[in-house]
């Protein structure tokens, strides 16, 4: 009996590993089919304000739909639903909340707390001043509100869920935007690991809900002070760039993004 269970368990584990390794690649194939690429190309031109792009988009979509029907019945066209504008929280509300918070003097002699800092979020607590508290409150409210709204959107968009990566053109659009926003600190050492990985949670319009430095513990390590400077510059770039140039659809795909900022090429070159 036990033997059978062990064999069964072994085969099941094998099955899970095989599916985990191979199925995503299988799943990607239909997504990378030419029709979808062409739709995205239009999206890019749309952003660069070429006037005939919207027309071209419709025409190409029609053609592709016809092609799809002819080629395969297994790849149904995506249900494209526009995001309702009322689903996005208005920025004015946030500003008002901040203004309500009273100012209080801070003690300058307390001085820099940079050594103590562990992460972007913990730093706010360490300062423990009213202004920082205000910011935390603001971000709590903001994320709570957004999450409510996002739930609705998620239900709306269930049909269009897919788990593929960004296409080359989508990725290029995002990269090009962030390249322009990221001021690389020039004092970084050339021969160190200059990779900062930041996880983002995004709203459908590309604005940021939450940022998280994945390797934030490194900020406190001795001799890694430059890492903090680099991480902060990356965070500034993200904030400066928002709303990010994300695809207009497929929110489920990119609602969580990881940006890997690597300054090595720039500083060595």
């Amino acid at each position: 009996m036990n033997r059978n269970i062990i064999i069964s368990f072994g085969f099941h584990t094998l099955l899970v590993i095989i599916t985990a390794m191979s199925l995503p690649f299988l799943a990607k194939k239909p997504i990378d089919l030419p029709p979808i690429v062409s739709v995205e190309l239009i999206q890019i031109t749309d952003k660069t304000n070429i006037p005939f792009a919207p027309k071209a988009k419709k025409i190409i979509e029609k053609v592709k739909e016809k092609e799809k029907k002819l080629v395969s019945e297994q790849a149904p066209p995506k249900a494209v639903k526009k995001i309702k504008p009322d689903a996005i929280p208005l920025p004015d509300e946030k500003i008002e909340k901040v203004k309500k918070i009273k100012d209080k003097k801070q003690n300058p002699e307390k001085v820099d707390t940079e050594v103590k800092q562990v992460s972007e979020f913990e730093k706010k607590e360490l300062f423990d001043t009213n202004s920082i508290a205000a910011l935390i409150d603001k971000s709590k409210v903001e994320s709570a509100e957004t999450n409510k709204k996002l739930d609705k959107i998620t239900q709306d968009q269930d049909k269009s869920i897919d788990f593929g990566g960004l296409s080359l053109s989508e990725e290029d659009a995002l990269k090009a935007q962030i390249f322009g926003c990221w001021s690389i600190p020039l004092g970084l050492p050339y021969n160190e690991n200059l990779l900062v990985r930041i996880k983002l949670q995004l709203k459908p319009d590309g604005s940021i809900i939450r940022t998280e430095i994945i390797d934030h513990a490194r900020m406190n390590k001795p001799g890694q002070r430059f890492y903090k400077v680099l991480a902060e510059s990356a965070l500034r770039a993200i904030k400066l760039c928002q709303p990010l140039r994300v695809p207009s659809k497929g929110y489920e795909r990119w609602k969580e993004l990881q940006l890997n900022f690597d300054a090595r090429d720039m500083l060595e070159g």
Partner: protein, 446 residues
């Protein structure tokens, strides 16, 4: 049946795990960071007191201008025009309205406050991250009012360090040779000034010819070359006390002196019977040690910051080239192999690069290479320029440049220039007279 559902569930779960999309950002811009430097807030009583002592209308504004000029000079920051500021200094220092500063595209904000307490100047300042809406740093200094320029430099250093990840170089001084008169009969004096050209002072009278002053990396001592009975000798000068002394009494010429990284030794060239080699002298016990021993001309020695290696130039290959050896004189290795002649190698305080002067096809270049000789980069080219000296953070080089004289022997001038490692940010440093042979001090405050 349940098992089948379980398998389907297990199949779906790993797919979800692959879902986080990663995007690699490998490029950014090297544009200067827009920074707003708000004038430091000052109350009326303090303002009047400082006006009486320092003869400055508003010391808060003056200090902020020093910070602004320093950051601008570095080429890494773009200080925004103060006319565009929407928030007044007093409120900005307590709680900046980040929306306002964001509106004028500032990414960082410097605010502060100046007060007059017990006949002293007290300055507090804060650095804010405008985009994140948080305070990055807050410091306060108290000093005598006459030190107000240094306070500006220190604030600039702290801001620079917090935003770039390396130490600043603004609270430093430069020692150089002040030159006056026609080219054939120049009066040369030892002079010292702040790195921004202010507070210039002459340290010698100009009776004797002085050359190649070099700062100690650890304190305010200077070693330089002066002629005594037509023989060049290496001298030591303590800037704080004004005391100077000759470093030993040698039968031949001593020249090209430089301190070791710990400031305890001087490394220099010593010429005898037409052959010059490299020697060190311990400043405590005055013991002289010969480091290189070769029939060629070895000169311009410079220690690596860890004191383990020495770079120098030598013509042992037939042409003047740059070499590196262990500090005991062993393992001599040539590192420069490009066309032309290489001289005045100086090891960066960061330890990663060696700066040099190169002469090729009648043009002079200031350049840098890695310590193994790879990655040679020429930063600037001119008719005549030489003697690079590193800023204490190893990011900027200062050197001097001479202009051509015309047929009548007129139009000659020598000026100090600085250039950063990118090679783009080249600037002339204003001096009262002509200037040559600059040397950068370490940070006065740490």
């Amino acid at each position: 049946m349940i098992l089948r559902y379980l398998i389907i569930l297990l199949i779906l779960l790993p797919i979800k795990a692959f879902a986080v999309i990663e995007v690699d950002i490998t490029r950014g811009n090297l544009n200067p960071l827009p920074v707003a430097i708000s004038p430091l807030d000052i109350d009326k009583n303090s303002k009047d007191n400082f006006k009486r002592i320092l003869k400055k209308e508003n010391i808060g504004v003056e200090i902020s201008i020093i910070v602004e000029n320093n950051l601008k000079q570095s080429g890494l920051f773009d200080p925004l025009n103060k006319d565009a500021f929407l928030q007044k200094p007093d409120i900005a220092n307590l709680k900046p309205r980040f929306e306002d500063w964001n509106l004028i595209k500032a990414q960082a904000l410097v605010t502060g406050k100046v007060t007059f307490i017990d006949e002293k100047l007290r300055v507090e300042f804060r650095l804010w991250d405008v985009l994140a809406g948080k305070e990055m740093m807050a410091l306060a200094f108290t000093t005598v009012p006459s030190n107000w320029r240094r306070v500006g430099h220190i604030i600039a250093d702290k801001v620079y360090e917090r935003l770039t990840g390396e130490k600043g170089y603004f609270d430093t001084r430069i020692i150089y040779i002040s030159e006056k008169g026609p080219k054939t009969n120049r009066i040369k004096k030892l002079a010292i000034m702040d790195q921004d050209g202010f507070n210039n002072k002459f340290l010698t009278l100009g009776n004797e010819l002085v050359l190649t002053p070099r700062f100690s990396p650890t304190n305010q001592m200077v070693t330089y070359l002066s002629y005594f009975r037509n023989l060049p000798r290496v001298y030591l000068l303590d800037i704080e006390t004004g005391m100077q002394e000759v470093v030993g009494d040698f039968p031949g010429m001593t020249f090209a002196p430089r301190f070791s990284p710990d400031g305890k030794k001087i490394i220099m060239s010593f010429a005898k019977d037409g052959n010059s080699d490299i020697y060190t002298m311990d400043l405590e016990n005055r013991i002289v040690e010969r480091i290189s021993n070769h029939p060629s001309i070895d000169t311009s020695p410079s220690y690596s910051p860890d004191g383990k290696y020495i770079t120098f130039n030598s013509d042992r290959s037939g042409y003047q080239q740059i070499y590196v050896m262990s500090s005991n004189g062993k393992n001599v290795k040539r590192i420069s192999f490009g066309n032309g002649l290489y001289g005045t190698p100086v090891w960066s305080p960061r330890g990663d690069l060696i700066a040099f002067t190169k002469l090729h096809k009648g043009k002079f270049y200031i350049g840098v290479m890695r310590t193994d000789g790879t990655g040679e980069r020429l930063l600037t080219e001119n008719f005549y320029q030489e003697a690079p000296s590193w800023s204490p953070n190893g990011r900027v080089l200062i050197f001097y440049r001479e202009t051509k004289t015309n047929a009548k022997g007129e139009g000659f001038s020598a000026k100090l220039w600085s250039i950063d490692l990118t090679g783009y940010n080249e600037k002339m440093i204003e001096t009262e007279t002509d200037a040559s042979d600059p040397s950068w001090s370490s940070l006065l405050s740490n």
